[in-house]
């Protein structure tokens, strides 16, 4: 089976005063038709850069090498004129700030119609009908009314639904969602996540879902790739990563996920900060923050298969498999009186 999107050995460098600094290094990722893949990591780990590389929207001083194949077509050496046929028509993207992504001086309808007309030759009435259909499809009540409204009439959650409709307006088969729910309330976040899941199931589109929240990703995605300092450090089916995480970074991220069974217990985050591009530590990039680091970690780490369909970039992966298990067995704690 060939993947709908196959990123292989992607390397993105930024030109910093004549010096090429790698922000993404040897990153590989595959998304099948109809599959939702989550990309998880902290700020600065290269998640957004990967998304921008797929769309070839990298900053001017960035250079990408490796290979990005979308539906059999190599994107990295496409000329700009052909890339326009990829963006929007084949790949739709949704960003973090839905309110900022919409133009406040145009109606929702004008912006959605622009997205429809950019890639399709439809009559006015057909385009309008398509717009109503798209808004209905993303669960916006009263789509006819919404078309006439301006973004400030809509809540953040509604704006994000409009953005998703725009991203899919031209029939894109790959949706890239970059932290699409970060600025939204939990209740709305939950609805957006379930909307994306429904769209993927119903119309078989592929989704690359980028987030720093492993809990959120685990609600939605079939597979998860955990990235750290521009590299994938662990990848596998969601269930495998949640139940048998091997990389210490994945284990640490899992500890940060809310656990409503343990009220009043403050969990440690991950001490320290991710390394800056250009000043990476020797060997394993997570080593300075890793509680299990040994001398063996000073050698560069390779992403290796450690179990069935489970790749880990850690020399101690197998011996740490049972250490610090992320999900404690569901406790049935009695209510405690007072905490003081």
């Amino acid at each position: 089976m060939t993947a709908h999107l196959a990123i292989s050995n992607l390397r993105v460098t930024l030109d910093r005063q004549g010096e090429a600094v790698a922000v993404i290094d040897d990153l590989s990722l595959e998304i099948q038709e109809g599959e939702i893949v989550g990309m998880v990591g902290e700020s600065g780990s290269g998640k957004t850069m990967t998304a921008l590389a797929v769309l070839q929207l990298l900053p001017r001083r960035a250079h990408a090498s490796g290979s990005i194949v979308l539906a059999g077509q190599e994107l990295l050496d496409l000329p700009e004129s052909e890339l326009r046929q990829v963006r929007g028509a084949k790949v739709g993207m949704v960003f973090q700030e839905p309110v900022a992504a919409l133009n406040p001086v145009f109606t929702v309808g004008a912006q959605l119609l622009a997205a429809i007309n950019a890639h399709q030759d439809l009559s006015r009435s057909d385009a309008r009908a398509r717009a109503v259909e798209l808004l209905g499809n993303v669960g916006l009540p009263e789509p006819e009314l919404r078309l006439r409204q301006y973004p400030h009439h809509l809540s953040g959650g509604m704006c994000q639904r409009v953005m998703i409709a725009m991203a899919l307006a031209a029939g894109a088969r790959l949706l890239i969602a970059d932290e699409p729910t970060t600025s939204l309330d939990v209740t709305i976040q939950d609805e957006i996540v379930r909307l994306i899941r429904r769209l993927a199931v119903e119309s078989g589109i592929s989704v690359l879902f980028i987030s720093h929240d492993l809990g959120l990703v685990s609600r939605l995605c079939h597979r998860v790739a955990v990235v750290y300092a521009g590299q994938v450090v662990e990848t596998g089916p969601t269930r495998t990563l949640l139940e048998a995480p091997m990389h210490p970074y994945t284990k640490a991220l899992l500890r940060c996920v809310p656990n409503l069974h343990e009220v009043g217990v403050v969990h440690r985050g991950i001490p320290g900060t991710p390394p800056l591009p250009g000043s990476l530590p020797e060997g394993c990039r997570f080593r300075p923050r890793c509680e299990y680091a040994t001398a063996a970690c000073q050698a560069p780490q390779v992403l290796e298969p450690r179990a069935d369909d489970h790749l880990v970039r850690c020399v101690r992966a197998l011996e740490l498999a049972d250490v610090g298990r992320a999900i404690p067995p569901t406790p049935t704690l009695p209510l405690q009186g007072g905490g003081s």
Binding site: E42, S43, P141, S155, G156, G157, M158, D185, V186, T187, I188, Q189, D190, V193, H212, D213, L214, G215, L216, S218, R219, L242, A252, L253, L254, R255, C256, V257, P258, N259, L260, H261, E262, V263, G264, V265, V266, H267, R268, G269, I270, P271, T273, A326, I327, P328, T330, L333, L335, Q336, G338, G339, S340
Partner: protein, 335 residues
């Protein structure tokens, strides 16, 4: 005036209100009071924050939780009701923000980028609250440096500027500044919501440490249930300007009595298995504060709503060792 209801302790445990640090009684916050369409962001809310505890105010955007925080600090218009800090009435003070500061209240906001002056070195920002009290600049600088160490930043950070700091480091700086006047109550208004999960937990660990070591009391305002479950000792759930459930954190989280509390908990992305029935998910989005629905304000989204909910507003009453405002709370039995 009715007796203050709020963190269920005083009402349910029969404990004397002596350890009550902040008391909010029948507070109504109204924006545009003299306009044609005044908006009641908070309506008749009563709450108590007890010394040494952490009261979490939770609810969606538009529930009025931030308006309560701003009203305490004198930054939002109070139409009626009282806010007393340690017996001192804050709402009638001539300069409400100054009075709140003098009575030992400090606030940490969500966005540490806009909360710090980009032109000021970190130590000057931290020492700003001391300007009136510590005349010597050298003394202020020294105090700021000690505070920075207190929040886990070494002294070299004092001479840096905000743009040289990461988001987590900036939030540590704003916490250090809040600690400068030695407050007793710190309001954390979405103080960790903008941070990455890994950084967020590090800040929570710091806040927990500071609370114990400095004897602080927190009012935690958050839509982030992960942070709330870790930090809160008491919870008050707000919906469209009203408190709908309040009580001890463990009780409210483990056996919510109000369907809205269920809905909030059901939306939390956990990996430890769903704690509540997903059928409690709310319908649609939070209503308009300017035009709240009649009866129970949540009935338009509530999966348990009956005719009575649209006609009659439920009052806060004790149900299973906490207070809740729901007509059907007794029927709803959690496993």
């Amino acid at each position: 005036m009715t007796a203050p209801v709020g963190t269920a302790r005083a009402d349910l445990d029969g404990r004397a209100p002596a350890d009550c640090l902040l008391r909010i009684s029948d507070l109504t916050v109204t924006y545009g009071l003299r306009s044609r369409q005044p908006v009641h962001a908070v309506v008749d809310v009563s709450l108590e924050v007890h010394t040494g505890r952490t009261l979490a105010l939770i609810g969606e955007s538009g529930s009025g939780k931030s308006s309560i925080a701003r009203a305490i600090c004198g930054l939002a218009p109070v139409e009626r009701g009282t806010i007393t800090m340690d017996g001192y009435e804050l709402t009638t003070a001539p300069d409400r923000p100054v009075a709140a500061g003098q009575r030992g209240i400090q606030i940490v906001f969500q966005d540490p980028v806009s909360a710090l002056d980009p032109r000021w070195s970190v130590w000057r920002s931290v020492a700003e609250p001391l300007l009136r009290h510590v005349p010597s600049s050298d003394d202020r600088r020294e105090r700021a440096m000690v505070l920075l160490e207190r929040v886990g930043l070494d002294r070299s950070f004092g001479d840096r500027h905000p743009h040289q700091l990461s988001g987590g480091q900036r939030q540590r700086v704003t916490i250090a500044r809040a600690l400068a006047p030695a407050p007793r109550l710190v309001i954390l208004d979405e103080a960790v919501s903008a941070l990455d999960v890994s950084v967020r937990n590090e800040i929570l660990v710091l806040l927990d440490e500071l609370k114990r070591e400095e004897g602080l009391t927190y009012l935690l305002i958050s839509h982030d249930m992960g942070a709330v479950a870790q930090m809160a000792t008491d919870i008050a759930v707000m919906y469209l300007g009203k408190v709908v459930e309040s009580g001890e954190a463990a009780r409210v989280i483990r056996e919510p009595a109000h369907p809205y509390t269920d809905a909030l908990l059901a939306s939390v992305p956990t990996v430890s298995g769903d704690i509540v029935d997903p059928s409690f998910r709310p319908r649609g989005e939070i209503g308009d504060t300017a035009h709240p629905p009649p009866g129970c304000r949540y009935h338009t989204r509530c999966p348990l709503a009956i005719d009575r909910c649209a006609a009659e507003e439920p009052l806060m009453r004790p149900v299973r060792e906490r207070l809740t405002a729901c007509h059907r709370a007794d029927e709803k039995v959690n496993a």
